[in-house]
């Protein structure tokens, strides 16, 4: 399938913020795309209450987040 003309990202759900990058290939791992299209939210490690409930010890670096 060949494009007859370039897509206008402003007209595409979820990609509107990429309009200034209309000549770029979309890479979901691109740092700036990740921020702009909100590709993923969450994915954070289990919170202290979650770990406590499972009887697990939190990692040292998580203590500041509690």
């Amino acid at each position: 399938m060949q494009k007859s003309r370039a897509m206008d990202y402003a007209k595409l759900l979820g990609f509107a913020n990429l309009q200034s990058r209309s000549d770029s290939t979309i890479d979901f791992k691109d740092k700036t795309i990740d921020a702009r299209i909100g590709a993923k939210a969450g994915g954070e490690v289990c919170s202290m209450p979650d770990l406590r409930e499972m009887g697990l010890r939190p990692p040292a670096r998580a203590s500041a987040k509690d």
């Binding site: 399938m1 060949q2 494009k3 007859s4 003309r5 370039a6 897509m7 206008d8 007209k11 595409l12 759900l13 979820g14 990609f15 509107a16 913020n17 770029s24 290939t25 979309i26 890479d27 979901f28 791992k29 740092k31 700036t32 795309i33 990740d34 921020a35 702009r36 299209i37 909100g38 590709a39 993923k40 939210a41 969450g42 994915g43 954070e44 490690v45 289990c46 919170s47 202290m48 209450p49 979650d50 770990l51 406590r52 409930e53 499972m54 697990l56 010890r57 939190p58 990692p59 670096r61 998580a62 987040k65 509690d66």
Partner: protein, 340 residues
């Protein structure tokens, strides 16, 4: 603290978007389906469809106008756009066929295991792409063991049962936002054990970790948390919430790694909503002593995270008009005298 008759914090300013609303979810869902169809029309204009393509578009239009659709349509749409963004692409036609196949799936799949064989491997591969977006931290869920999946499914059911009894409006909102829940398996190392994750391009579903054992309060926390990410996606469907540069990174109240400012807004928004949800559970009278203790801990943990996030947002966020509304809601909520 006792809540008012609407289940809100006493004195909360009207118009605060944090309270649950199934009607708002339906409105967002309709809007997203309409916007998705407009996007397909634009793609069709760009690639040229031919006769069969036009007929397919009409089929899709009927499905998208009718009622909620499977999150796989949104997932495959993002795959199609990514494929077409390449200078030379030869994989778009099969993706269009996949989208039509996904249109016949029910919107509500319930709790399903990651890489469930009822869905093609290529669809799961793109699902994984959507979740593995961080170049500095691999995110690779795995297939859960039958035991873990079964426990996870039962815990989701128990959490929804508690929510149905204790907070029917929030139960209805969660059901509207999460008709599909994918249960995956993740690392058992506590430093890397993910709880849940959501993506704009899987509207109607979230990924949760089947290896984490959860009480009804804990799963309620997770379901409200993940569905609130989706709610914010629904709110931002018509445009960006913030105008900050995509390269900016700030300390997150929920994650060890620095996050884009949009991530901080998400964190503060979902933590605020989990706080409200825990307040409502505590006020319901349906919690056992153990669950009351858990809800109190989660209420306070989320209050702290939300306030830290809000401080960062107040310092650094450059909200659009749409984002200002969300930020105002967070500010109103945390300025409520009953929460001081």
């Amino acid at each position: 603290m006792s809540l008012d008759s609407d289940g809100n914090i006493p004195g909360l300013q009207e118009g605060c978007t944090l309270s649950p609303s199934a009607a708002r979810v339906e409105e967002f869902d309709r809007n997203l389906r309409a916007r998705l169809f407009d996007s397909f029309c634009h793609i069709a204009e760009c690639v040229g469809l031919g006769e069969s393509g036009t007929a397919n578009l009409e089929l899709l239009n009927g499905r998208l106008r009718g009622s909620s659709v499977s999150p796989w349509i949104f997932c495959l749409y993002s795959k199609l756009v990514a494929e077409l963004s390449k200078d030379y692409n030869d994989g778009a036609a099969p993706i269009v066929a996949d989208i039509l196949a996904a249109a016949s799936l029910p919107a509500r799949a319930g709790v399903v295991p990651f890489r469930d064989c009822t869905v093609p491997v290529s669809w799961w591969n793109h699902f994984e792409v959507l979740f593995d977006t961080d170049s500095e931290r691999d995110f690779a869920p795995e297939i859960p063991s039958p035991e873990s999946f079964s426990l996870c499914k039962r815990e989701v059911e128990e959490g929804l049962s508690l929510l149905r009894l204790a907070d029917p409006p929030w139960h209805d909102e969660v059901q509207g936002l999460l008709p599909t829940i994918v249960a995956g398996s993740g690392p058992l190392d506590t430093a890397d054990m993910f709880n849940g994750a959501s993506t704009f391009f899987f509207w109607g579903g979230s990924l949760i970790n089947a290896e984490v054992r959860r009480s009804p309060v804990s799963i309620t926390d997770l379901l409200v948390h993940e569905s609130s990410h989706l709610l914010l996606f629904g709110l931002s469907a018509d445009g960006a919430l913030l105008s900050n540069g995509g390269e900016e990174r700030y300390t997150s109240p929920l994650r060890a790694d620095p996050r884009p400012i949009d991530g901080i807004l998400h964190a503060s928004f979902v933590a605020s909503r989990v706080h409200l949800s825990m307040c409502r559970l505590l006020d319901s009278g349906y919690l056992t002593r153990d669950n009351e203790r858990r809800a109190l801990e989660r209420r306070d943990h989320n209050a702290k995270s939300a306030r830290i996030g809000l401080e960062i947002l107040n310092k650094h966020a450059r909200p659009t008009e749409l984002g200002q509304g969300v930020l105002d809601s967070l500010c109103y909520y945390w300025a409520t005298p009953a929460l001081q």
